[in-house]
């Protein structure tokens, strides 16, 4: 039994090839590779296709189907409606096979879809330029911090504690090996917004950038304008935005953001366990040379016909690897194409309507929960579709009960922060019906209060 049945060479073929190049053992080809490990790997034996399929099917069967569940949890990945046409169009073979066009000019369709995507991101964020996507939201934030350091040659980034905790982790991973420093800025316990006094006090001559989230991890909408006013001329304001909220909230670019990045999943992408998704990245034009990723441009050919090309590729790793602005190899362009199709289908009015419904439903849910008198509001700051409340009972038990009823309850913030144990981060989107919300609220009285 051959170990790799998909390799077409027979034993004879291999022997013949080895004779030609004058070796007796395949391992001789690897003698230049440093020996890092000897022995057998602790992994199971290979399996046949039938066995693998059977096993995967069994595993997949243990998952729940989110379509059958009411979802009240967001925290970075959201359950939004995806019009049927989105995946029908975006997963055409023409897009899938050319998802990362190295011979770009032959993939005119992909390039045009990404060009439209960039335009949509610029409009949503209120920025002048956008690239054709990043790996995900977390890496987009980290790349923005690196870019700010390239722009102003300073090494310290002040990051709001109310940024998604996992994004903070990714940013640390990216920056610590490059001699950059990350310092966290607390949130105001009353409003849930960034503590402006602490921000003011921590800005010094080494400050390169300030990173905030809009809305932040607690769902609270930061006051971008106020934050920008505090910052000295050469400190860049990086805003991590939830793109779907921008159908309702003012574009960060119009409020003074220098770089706007974010997780694009909410734009027509499936939740799929948190990935693959894509990140978006937009900036002021004057920083374009320091921006990572690729940009698609529009031009004309010799005959004057419109065509699309990749521009500014020289910052890419396939040209000068050591001097690339970014060394991440995946940009999830196909997921960006999905977003491009989604935005073209819902349109300007549609997006505004979807955003508005998110806002309305979350506010209705919050009002109803507070009315039960079993929850206390936590932050006063205005929110979009997520908010934090503190139950007077055991939140994990409440979530377990809900799960049995096919409801996915709020996130217990204790997962990320001891101080916020038993605090609930609720989310409602356009997909939550009034009936679902009312039913969830009716379940609140079923758990005895505890003294926490």
């Amino acid at each position: 039994m051959k170990r790799f049945p998909y390799i077409p060479h027979t034993e004879e073929d291999i022997k013949e090839m080895m004779n030609v190049i004058g070796i007796n053992d395949i391992k001789e080809l690897y003698k230049d590779v440093p020996k890092l490990f000897e022995g057998d790997l602790n992994i199971p034996e290979s399996k046949s296709e039938i066995e693998v399929k059977r096993e995967l099917k069994e595993l997949a069967g243990r998952n729940i189907d989110l379509d059958e569940y009411a979802m009240f949890r967001g925290a970075g990945i959201y359950k939004h409606y995806i019009p049927s046409a989105v995946y029908q169009l975006a997963t055409k073979r023409n897009f899938i096979t050319a998802y990362t066009p190295y011979q770009a000019e032959v993939s005119q369709g992909t390039l045009q879809a990404l060009y439209e995507f960039q335009t949509a991101i610029c409009e949503l964020t209120g920025m002048e330029v956008a690239n054709s996507s990043m790996y995900d939201g977390g890496t987009a934030v980290a790349e923005a911090i690196l870019m700010a350091s390239r722009v102003n040659k300073k090494h310290k980034s002040l990051v709001a504690k109310s940024l998604h905790p996992e994004y903070i982790e990714v940013s640390r991973t990216y920056t610590e090996s490059q001699g950059l420093e990350i310092e966290l800025i607390n949130y105001d316990e009353k409003t849930g917004r960034i503590d402006l006094e602490e921000l003011k006090n921590k800005i010094d001559e080494n400050t390169s950038s300030v990173v905030i989230s809009y809305p932040n991890f607690f769902g609270v909408v930061e006051n971008i304008k106020q934050i920008k006013e505090i910052l000295p001329e050469n400190v860049l304001l990086i805003v991590n935005a939830y793109p779907l909220s921008l159908g309702l909230l003012e574009a960060p670019g119009k409020l003074g953001a220098d770089i706007v990045v974010g997780e694009g999943q909410s734009l027509g992408n499936h939740m799929s366990f948190g990935g693959p998704t894509f990140g978006f990245f937009a900036s002021k034009q004057k920083y374009i040379r320091q921006m990572p990723g690729r940009i698609i441009g529009e031009t004309v050919d010799e005959e004057g016909k419109r065509g699309f090309v990749m521009v500014l590729q020289t910052r890419e790793q396939h040209i000068r690897r050591a001097k690339a602005t970014s060394n991440i190899c995946s940009n999830h362009a196909l997921m960006a194409v999905v977003a491009s199709v989604y935005l073209s289908i819902v349109g300007r009015e549609g997006l505004r309507e979807i955003s508005y419904q998110n806002y309305q439903k979350a506010h209705y849910l919050a009002k109803k929960l507070i009315e039960t008198e079993k929850f206390e509001p936590v932050f006063e700051g205005e929110f979009f579709n997520e908010f934090v409340v503190k139950p007077k009972f055991d939140l994990n038990k409440f979530n377990e009960n809900l799960f049995e009823e096919k409801f996915i309850g709020p996130l217990n913030l204790g997962k990320f922060c001891d101080k916020l144990e038993n605090h609930a981060l609720f989310c409602a989107t356009e997909l939550n019906t009034k009936e679902e919300i009312d039913y969830l609220v009716s379940k609140v009285g079923e758990i005895d209060e505890i003294t926490l």
């Binding site: 040379r289 590729q313 020289t314 040209i319 000068r320 001097k323």
Partner: protein
């Protein structure tokens, strides 16, 4: 007294007093194709001979420009910001990139004459 010298890495340097004007050769510009951007160094930057002085980007590639001599950048050609194509039009004249204050004139002796450079191509 003026003199013009060349490097193996396709830079030209014209020396007047202790100031060296530096650019890339016509041959290098030809090889690069349409120049789209020149990443100019900052004035005051100190460079050693052989250091990357700046980078020139064309449609499909990017190359470093290496300093033919050690010194301090005293002037950069800001015309190139808006019109990088000057390098294609007149690489060895209006397409100059930086002026350096030379710190060690003996380094000039290691450079190629025009004939030596031409025959090395």
């Amino acid at each position: 007294m003026r003199m013009r010298k060349f490097t193996k890495t396709h830079e030209w340097v014209e020396v007047e007093g202790n100031v060296a004007t530096i650019g890339i050769t016509a041959h290098a510009a030809e090889e690069l194709g349409d120049v789209t951007f020149v990443e100019l160094p900052e004035e005051g930057k100190e460079v050693k001979k052989g250091d990357a002085l700046c980078a020139v980007e064309s449609v499909k590639s990017a190359s470093d420009v290496y300093s033919p001599v050690s010194g301090k950048v005293i002037e950069v050609n800001t015309e190139l910001d808006a019109n990088p194509e000057i390098i294609n039009e007149d690489a060895e004249g209006k397409g100059w990139i930086v002026k350096l204050e030379i710190s060690d004139e003996s380094e000039l002796n290691d450079l190629l004459t025009e004939e030596e450079y031409k025959s090395s191509l």
